[in-house]
């Protein structure tokens, strides 16, 4: 049996960065890469399922990205994933999350996992769509923002808890195979050991392309996407800081006035 764990290498930024000349992205020189925080939890959930199951389970991690993304795949392999697939070709450059979901769906058709575990969202774009779109394309059931996942022993059903607004939780059962988007806090992600890191260096990563997955042109890149990015920019700051001057007593009364104005007193 297989569990597919799609992951994303997200971008974090330092204080200073620049945009690309077309203003549609941050200049890649300023990208700092990291594994999406949510994916740490979906991978951990897969590892926990594997460890608590008697029958053998293969955990496959996959991602869409150029060779920079190998680092995040290797991080997953170091923690115990069995196999890694990286899908890339230059046509994939402006693929949105729907386009990514199409790729994952193709991998799923090929691998036939019993379960797909994704993160609820990615920390850089925060669309929260990849997982549920994958389910839609596959025609599978799905559950989003899951903070407890308990499959039954023959893996045909699972009982889950979903996190709702306002501290509420929802309990439900779901038929498998299904796509589950995992919320942070569901478990405590492990760290890789040095042995794991060293071993992961020698596990080959499968390099797939849309072609090799049997995708047709209308599914690939911008054609397969539902949106394109027009522009990225830093919004103008609306509020401004004020420096309160004067003697301590004057400062205190000015501050009190600001607070009272704010409260509408």
């Amino acid at each position: 049996m297989k569990i597919l764990v799609p992951i994303k290498q997200v971008v974090t930024l330092d204080e200073d960065f620049e945009f690309t000349p077309d203003n549609r992205d941050v200049d890649h020189d300023f990208h700092i890469y990291d594994l999406n925080e949510w994916d740490d939890y979906s991978l951990e959930e897969a590892l926990l399922i594997k460890e608590s199951n008697d029958s053998p389970i293969e955990i496959i991690v996959c991602t869409v990205g150029n060779e920079y993304a190998d680092e995040s795949l290797r991080k997953c392999l170091a923690k115990g994933a069995d196999r890694a697939i990286r899908v890339w070709s230059n046509e994939l450059k402006n693929t949105d999350s729907i386009g990514i979901a199409r790729i994952i769906a193709h991998i799923a058709r090929r691998e036939e996992p019993q379960l797909i575990l994704t993160g609820v969202q990615s920390s850089d774009f925060a669309h929260s769509t990849t997982g549920v779109a994958t389910a839609g394309i596959l025609g599978w059931p799905y559950a989003a923002v899951v903070n407890r996942f308990e499959p039954d022993h023959d893996f045909t059903k699972a009982s889950i808890l979903r996190e709702l607004e306002g501290g509420l939780e929802e309990a439900m059962n779901i038929d498998l195979p299904a796509v589950i988007t995992i919320q942070v806090g569901i478990n405590k992600p492990r760290y890789a050991s040095l042995r794991g890191i060293k071993q992961a260096q020698s596990i080959p990563i499968e390099e797939a392309t849309p072609d090799s997955l049997g995708m047709i042109d209308s599914e690939i890149g911008e054609s397969g996407s539902a949106s394109i990015i027009k522009k990225m920019f830093i919004p103008e700051k609306l509020s401004t800081a004020i420096i309160i001057e004067g003697t301590p007593a004057q400062q205190a009364s000015k501050l009190a006035k600001i607070i009272n104005d704010f409260k509408g007193v």
């Binding site: 991080k75 760290y191 050991s193 040095l194 042995r195 794991g196 890191i197 060293k198 071993q199």
Partner: protein, 730 residues
Amino acid sequence: MALDPKYAPLFEPIKIGPKILRNRFYQVPHCIGAGSDRPGFQAAHRSLKAEGGWAGINTEYCSIHPESDDTHRLSARLWDDGDVHNLRAMTDHIHKYGSLAGVEMWYGSSHAPNMESRCTPRGPSQYNSEFENLTYCKEMDLDDITHVQQYYVEAALRARDAGFDIVYVYGAHSYLPLQFLSPYYNKRKDKYGGSLENRARFWIETLEKVGKAVGNDCAIATRFAIDTLYGPSSIEIEEDGLHFIELADPLVDLWDVNIGDIAEWGEDAGPSRFYRQGHQLPWTIHVKRIAKKPVLGVGRFTDPEKMMEIVRSGAADIIGAARPSIADPFLPNKILEGRVDDIRVCIGCNVCISRWEIGGPPMICTQNATAGEEYRRGWHPERFPKKTSDDSILIVGAGPSGSECARVLMERGYTVHLYDTSEKIGGHLNDIITLPGLGEWGYHRDYRESQLAKLIKKNKHSQLSLGQNPMTVENVLKYGADKIVIATGSSWNTDGNNGLTHDSIPGIDASNNWTLTPEQVFSGKKKIGKRVVILNADTYFMSPSIAEQLAKNGHEVTIVSGVHLANYMHFTLEYSNMRRRLHELHVQELNDVFASRAEEGHLEIFDTYGDGSTRIYAGPGKLPRRENDTHRSIEFDSLIVVTGRHSNDSLYRELKTQQGDWSANGIKGVYIIGDAEAPRLIADATFTGHRLAREIEETNPQFPLPYKREVAIYGAQRMQNFNPLIEYKF
């Protein structure tokens, strides 16, 4: 990154007499244990700060003549050409970076016991030093005054020859010029005593003479304790303080002002336990009202915002710093380069000072493990030798030593996994910083936390594994690391085992519900009763800190101490205010008293000197003194045992027993650092982690490499006409 424009004023040059300071960062005089006899140490430590951006850098107090000999403590000396030669190394190296070198000319009077020179100190009136307590000075007559002033002149000329740009007449910390000024010391009836003008005369004349001697070759500075904090019986800022500034202002190029005296100089070098950054400002802020010359003040300034506030508000022109410059010799450059969050912030523990107080072993710093190691070990605080292998290293324990070891190894380019059961790095420091006044000690952890986060971004294979299960031997063996460092810390003894009897105490057992170790106090799980007895055999901060905390929370606290309570806090200058605090909180103390057994509610205690004073040999099995008959009992609801610590070294010892399995698992070495090796000061624990990281590729890095020693060489000629032969005068 670049200088934040709001801090630009801190980098504006300023003229002091004939010299120019290139910015506003100034290392005030402070001891390091180098003096004139360890010139390499002196030159390296001070010039490193020039490299780090300090515009002015001083010696420690520097004796002008054998008559001011501080032996059992360590000052610099400018007594002869040999000292000139040695201190020249410091000034030359400082000048390479465009900074100015200053020397603090010092005459101590009674406060200097002259134990080496055996000269007689001279003072304004005869007094017994309140600091030294068995040293009287001779009251100076008018010839003596001229004579001692001539010492200053001759020393100033030697200072000039040694290449110093700034010469001080040092009148802070109750040394000679201040003794003339203060009626607390000066009881004279002649023209050097009585009115302020008379009391100021010695200092004024000395400044004139020194100024005339060095002319335009050197700037003249004076260090002045503008308020000795005794009230009207001595110097008060808005009385004699400002009047003296007015009188002497024309004669000085730079005012270096502070507060306090020598016997309690922790009022100047205020420990963070009692004083925050800028604590001297309520006094020093007045100086600029009168002084026309540049003014500098101190107060553990580490924060550029605070420094700007001082310069902008006109409280001072220049930021003086001793401890912040020790914790981070590159503080100015880090501000200049826009790396404020890389500053290693002084935690105000005063362990640097403890070494001077103890008598002058090389200075150490809790934050900066390279302090004092610049010359002898060749350690630069900001630059590290690149790694020499691809070994990966597992460090078990992220306390002070483990986190420092990880930081330095990562700086060197090694892949490091730092592993801890706690959710935060810092180890036992995370508990200590919850004690009254010790919050700022947390900067030690914070610095490492932020540096590790940055270093891990640079090497994705490095890892901080927190909140983990305790490592077993099996985990360690199978972890896949080439080298293992065990930094598992120490714990307080649960059975009363202590350094006096080297044994446990019957009945003491922290697994019962009425006995607590400090860790159990921190964890808050056991109820602490109204009447608390702290059984103490530790000489640092733990017992008084817990006493303070519990007394504040309404407990009735008695400390039973078999050792001098908090003796080490004399050396960190925390002792007197700690005493005042315990007194205010009505903490009771039984000193030279220890415990022989405990049961619920009762502690059997005895006077440690309750046995016989005479000694006889009475044969085997018999004590040589009359048996102690002072045993009695005191009552408690909770007993807190601060009797001693032991290393948490079981993981290390088990790994050693499985040495045969190391190589099969790819392990090249297992090392132990910090408290896990032996309980010690946080500064020393940090040092052991730092050292191991620097020497990890040595054949046996568990044991330190030798360091460069600066020692006198028999037969070597220290100065012209020096005859090294043994020659008796018959």
